[in-house]
Amino acid sequence: MASSYQPGTPSNRVRIVVATSVMLTFISYWRAAAIVLNDLGSSAFYAAGIAEQAIGKSAPWFIVAVMLFSFTVRAVYVESCSMFVRGGVYRVVKEALGGTLAKMSVSALMFDYILTGPISGVSAGQYIAGLINDVFVTLDTHGWVPRAVHAMFHGTPHVNVNWTSVVFGGAVTIYFWWQNTKGIQESSEKALRVMQITTVMVVLLLGWSAITLLKQGYQPVPLPTGHNLQFGHEALGFLNHTELAHDLARKFGLLGILIAFGHSVLAMSGEESLAQVNRELAHPKLKNLKRAAVIIAIYSFVFTGLTALLFVMIIPDSVRVPVYKDNLIAGLAMYLWGPQILRLAFRAFVVVVGFLILSGAVNTAIIGSNGVLNRVSEDGVLPDWFRQPHPRFGTTYRIVNLVVFLQLFTILASRGNVYWLGEAYAFGVIWSFTFNSLAMLVLRYKYKGERGWKVPPNIQIAGREIPVGLASVFLVLLSTAIVNLFTKSLATEAGVGFAATFFLIFTISERANRHKHALAEQHLQEHFQLLQRDTVDRSGLGIRPGNVLVTVRDYNTLNHLKWALERIDTKEQDIVVMSARISQFGAAAYDLSTEQIFSEYEQQLFSRAVNIAESFGKHVSLLVVPARDVWSAIVQTANNLESSAVISGLSSKMTAQEQAFELGRAWEAAPEPKRQFVVQIVHPDQQVDTFRIGPHTPSIKSEDVHLIHRLWLNITREPGLDKLHHHDVVTEALTRFARDYAGRDRQDILRELRKTTGKTVATRAIGGDGNKPPARQDDDVARKKDDGPPSPPVVGP
């Protein structure tokens, strides 16, 4: 039965079932790898160029070394994901390192995420602008540029590469700002397609490069020795004016290598995305995580590592850095063996792929930043103001606005300079990796819970485990991060400034929120009793089959709950009030904790719902589920609870038909066994649209019933058919219809049905693939003002 409640009486608090397992469609390791590679693979488009500007022609060897080292960093992330912890990066790092270092860690991670967007957007712009200019040059060479245009540009037409990149980067960021404000879900399908296209490009690039090397020979890549290092003017940062700078390699051979390594770490940026997809991986989770991780590591090693070598081997020194430093893959395409038109076409393909993969990285950056800031806001480290949902779309738009504002500011401040952005980005990358590995190292001793896998080797000394492997990775990361502090002055200034600002905001917010959160915690303890459940089922809620599920989101629009309470006798039929806690795909590394799922917002929402139920003197059961897709969450919950009806308010951004269509689609995607149910969408004016979800007996018009009856009468007069039933007539008619539809008459049937559809709008299918309508609006129950919900079940179990 429904839970009883009397707010304010500690012994009888409102019971709320909090499902802790996210309701989502799990993805295969291939898709997970594709999502991460969209971020990690994008580094291949700019990392080598930045490294060569900093350390000279032997940079590819350092890129290769970084890519090999990325295998070990990936192992740290696998260990981090294999721990059964909830609560987000801040909470996990706080447990290991304490509040101050946790805030610093999150600040570095934010710097990393926020910089991912600008560097990807601007880099994509560099590729596009570079192509435009080269096309102009080619056209001009052939005399195909009109004289007037030539005169207008005082020579060959061209665009300003850096400012074009700024405009492009800004436009892509604004586009994804709007997508994220609307809450458009990132699709793993799209990521997979992008990676398939990228793979085609990589295979062509490597194959064609091999032919070029055979036909034209190659220029050797200087070995990564101290003497071959040629540090650029800005590559020594604060050391530039010191005595050390004069002969770094001779005095401190290994330090030179370390500095060069530090200038190449950008190549493994995006590795942190592995943690973002962990939650979504299909069973067996750990095995699939490891598979995804190995695919990612091998792919990025081949793509980023080998192409870095090919740049130096194939592109002449005279143009590699001066012309193509910011779009090296495009440069490589132009210096492959073969006719120019083919090379130009391949370059265009490279630009398209670059646009796709780099734009994807911009979106991943916004989603990742939004996820991290949401978690820290839930932990009271950022004001709750940021988490207020968008009045129309329900997204945390203020956080999205903040992230996008910072990204746009960065794009403008960089003025399209990829090297500047890369230097700054490297700060976030290396420090977020360092903090993560340090946290994992400390958690080896502090965390006693379940852990699926550990970075090898681990040596036992006097009964104590020494994490040799993990400590080694941490040492490399820490030494590189410290050296970068001195050699990347620009990154240090920007990174420290940014991280310090965020750290300050976090610290002040935490202090300001401490009292408020203590009160909220007290309110939670006094008024609510959270019952944690891994999965949603009837026994957890103590309800009967055929119950009614009422979905709630905004505490200002609970009219549909009132409507349901007015009409349902809760002695006969239970009511479950459900709120789905949406987190976007890839928005968090760890599952949410119970307190995060049932946050202050949910407290307010359920307090209102309880007050309304009390005013009717009726009982309701309360349920919160974490979900990625609200429609799948509703369908799965209705299915698990054996609900006969779902009652929702009218969405502010969709029509009732669209809402039912989305539910129908989620129902079709849900696994078997699944039950049909009725959906009632209550409008603000109390009008109600009713739809049936799943296959069901259709409403038959009276003239059709008469037709069936007349046919039955005629047929039963035939000899031997006197025992025929009405349903036999329908079965025969449907069988013939199916045969005709599958045969030559398909087009005739569709033409006739199209004519009919316009006349019977009320009975049209509103979902499915056309063959299998998942939701249907009933003639007899559509938009009736006072029709109650099905009571007891309209669609029985």
Binding site: V294, V455, G469
Partner: protein, 51 residues
């Protein structure tokens, strides 16, 4: 200056020890990765929906 040199040597030492250890991690995880890839036949390539 001595402190700077000590600091540099310390960083170099950390980097060198870490690099050797990381190489061991690379070899050990590489072996495990190989086994993971070999045993990929029983994996789930299709999407599943579940709670």
């Amino acid at each position: 200056m001595i402190l700077v040199i000590i600091g540099i040597r310390l960083l170099e030492g950390m980097f060198a020890i870490g690099a050797i250890g990381s190489f061991i991690v690379l070899v050990l995880t590489g072996i495990e990765d190989f086994e993971t890839l070999i045993g990929s036949g029983d994996s789930t390539h299709t999407e599943e929906s579940a709670i």
